[in-house]
């Protein structure tokens, strides 16, 4: 099942409905389909092996996604925030590609590996001009629809492959066709190279929402677009929500009365932030979505009623669920397993394994699914008695000190309980005696002084165990995060390794 069918159906059902608003231009579903077909002709005739995007969000991302699908060529949106050497390496891995976006940068980085270079404006104009019907190349959808390089927070970026069947299964399992009313609008502000950006486009097209596309996230622009388009739905990562709320608390108050639903995910949501959001938007539905690139986006979610029930409950177990990622989708099987791959009972921490049609678990380099189709996510977590999933960091982040496994999160939670500490991370540092030991990096709250090293060691010794006591302590102005709010632990580890 080729994912271009989603756009084809939307255009068949209501060609005149506005499907996309970007930079002041409005595109109907009929126009999007026509230009996507034009894009497919360009891609097919180029003879390229990939369609690459190196650009902020725009109509080009939509046309490239669906056009590449029709042409049967993998679509590879690249992270334009990568440093030059990292980006150059990825460009080399997709040559020859039909590249759209920052032509000058590609020329500077890549010399000549046979890419076809197109600015956004040239590509969009050419796609609109190249009218005509195209035979969908891979109607069965057995091929690769999207290739996304993982962010590489722990190792070199892997090329995750999402087949049409994975993405289509996710959309059919979670979205009702044409379920949006003509007035519904979704604000998409996640970058095009993130799985959430791909999923937002596919879901919104199939639901037939009007997509208000923000080229790059910025809180004032977000608030302004949300008001001017009468936005009803949106997806944000926690750092975006924090910045939006900060501007509202500073007095920026556009009319957001139409905002019915906010979904969030992509990183840990601080409890105080979601509680503030629930107060600030009392009539808005909040949904926490947990998923990975390799699972075609969401695999578990905490829905609106569950948010309010947890927020209003006095029962500590129920209230704790506000910090969970909810329960697995009905179409997903999920297990917590120990290091030998044996399923663990509720309450015990282990690695999260998932299985389902939307789960690709496949990289260009290798397939990570086991013989029974289970995907080890490398995320650590546990289930409570009611089946709610709690995340506990990456399995790769576990600190192994003299054979004892230490989860960074248990140390970080203790540190964050200190009134002078705003942010904290625990990582493995090399130790001659133990193999690995604990290193911590802390950030003081504004106008506070970070506690002395001895005080921090004593705090951890008193609350946890002596094996958790850090061997190394660093006080930083800010911890390193990527633009999606993911903590870059390898940078903290490097800090200790180099000094």
């Amino acid at each position: 099942m080729n994912i271009s069918l989603l756009l084809q159906m939307a255009a068949d059902a209501d060609p005149d409905r506005v499907g996309l608003v970007c930079d002041g231009r409005r595109w109907t579903y009929g126009e999007l389909l026509k230009a996507s077909k034009g894009a497919a002709v360009l891609f097919r005739d180029s003879g390229c092996s990939h369609v690459g995007l190196l650009d902020e969000s725009s109509e080009a991302a939509v046309l490239a996604l669906f056009g590449a699908a029709m042409a049967g060529i993998p679509y590879v949106p690249l992270n334009y925030r990568l440093a030059d050497p990292d980006l150059a390496a990825l460009l080399g891995r997709i040559a020859p590609a039909f590249m759209i976006g920052d032509v000058e940068r590609i020329q500077r980085l890549d010399g000549d590996s046979g890419h076809r270079l197109n600015t956004r404006a040239d590509f969009v104009a050419a796609a609109e001009a190249a009218a005509g019907d195209i035979e969908v190349a891979d109607e069965a959808g057995e091929g690769i629809a999207v290739q996304i390089f993982t962010s590489g927070t722990t190792s070199a970026p892997k090329a995750a492959l999402l087949r049409h069947a994975n993405l289509a299964s996710y959309i059919f399992g979670t979205v009702e066709f044409c379920s949006a009313s003509p007035d519904d609008a979704v604000l998409v502000s996640v970058p095009p190279y993130h799985i959430a950006g791909i999923a937002a486009l596919l879901s919104s097209v199939y639901a037939m929402r009007r997509i208000a596309l923000l080229p790059a996230f910025e809180p004032d622009a977000w608030l302004s677009l949300a008001a001017s388009e009468g936005v009803t739905n949106t997806f944000v990562v926690p750092t975006m929500l924090a910045r939006i709320i900060a501007r509202m608390d500073e007095g920026l108050k556009p009319d957001l009365s139409g905002l019915r639903a906010i979904a969030y995910g992509g990183g840990k949501m601080p409890l105080e932030l979601i509680e503030r959001a629930l107060q600030l938007f009392p009539d808005t539905d909040f949904t926490n979505a947990y998923g990975l690139t390799e699972t075609s986006s969401t695999i578990a979610l905490l829905g609106p009623q569950e948010h309010r029930a947890a927020f209003e409950s006095d029962d500590p177990d129920a209230r704790a669920r506000l910090a969970s990622v909810g329960r697995p989708l009905p179409t997903i099987e999920l297990e917590i397993r120990d290091e030998e791959g044996r399923p663990l009972p509720a309450g015990e921490r282990g690695e999260i394994y998932v299985r389902g049609e939307q789960v690709s678990g496949e990289y260009r380099e290798r397939k990570a699914l086991d013989a029974d189709g289970w995907f080890p996510t490398r995320d650590a977590g546990w289930l409570d008695g009611e089946g709610y999933l709690f995340l506990a960091g990456r399995a790769d982040d576990v600190i192994v000190r003299g054979g004892e496994n230490i989860s960074p999160s248990e140390i970080e939670e203790v540190l964050l309980g200190h009134p002078a500490i705003a942010d904290a991370a625990a990582v493995a540092v090399p130790s001659a005696e133990w193999g690995e030991a604990v290193g911590i990096a802390v950030v003081a709250r504004p106008e506070q002084v970070a506690p002395a090293e001895d005080e921090l060691r004593e705090l951890i010794r008193a609350r946890l165990r002596s094996s958790r006591v850090p061997e190394r302590v660093a006080v930083l102005d800010v911890l390193p995060y990527n633009e999606m709010g993911k903590l870059l632990r390898r940078e903290i580890r490097a800090l200790f390794a180099n000094g």
């Binding site: 068949d12 059902a13 109607e139 069965a140 069947a165 995910g265 979505a289 979610l301």
Partner: protein, 96 residues
């Protein structure tokens, strides 16, 4: 009948895309479906005329077949006389 195969009704406007296929003959409006519409439309059988709805996924009782309706029509989908029913999907909050 492979995934991605498009079937058209001989008796109405219905078109479906095969999501999960099996070696069975799918009928619509009481007439066999095919790759193309016949020159002369088949008569709509009143026993198979409940209509199809765009975007619904139709399944048989045994779960062998799943068909996505990509164009609505007046006929009902059936296999061996069994009318296919729309798959009841649990309504989920939008997560993206």
């Amino acid at each position: 009948m492979k995934p991605g195969t498009r079937l058209k009704s001989a008796a109405c406007d219905t078109e479906v895309m095969v999501i999960r296929g099996a070696d069975v003959a799918v009928m619509c409006g009481g007439a066999p479906m095919g790759d193309a519409k016949p020159d002369a439309p088949a008569e709509l059988d009143a026993g198979f005329a409940e209509g199809t709805q765009m975007g619904k996924r139709y399944v048989d009782e045994a779960g062998r077949v799943e068909l996505l309706c990509v164009k609505a029509g007046k006929g009902s989908l059936s296999i061996d006389g069994e009318v296919l029913r729309p798959k009841e999907a649990k309504t989920l909050p939008s997560s993206d």
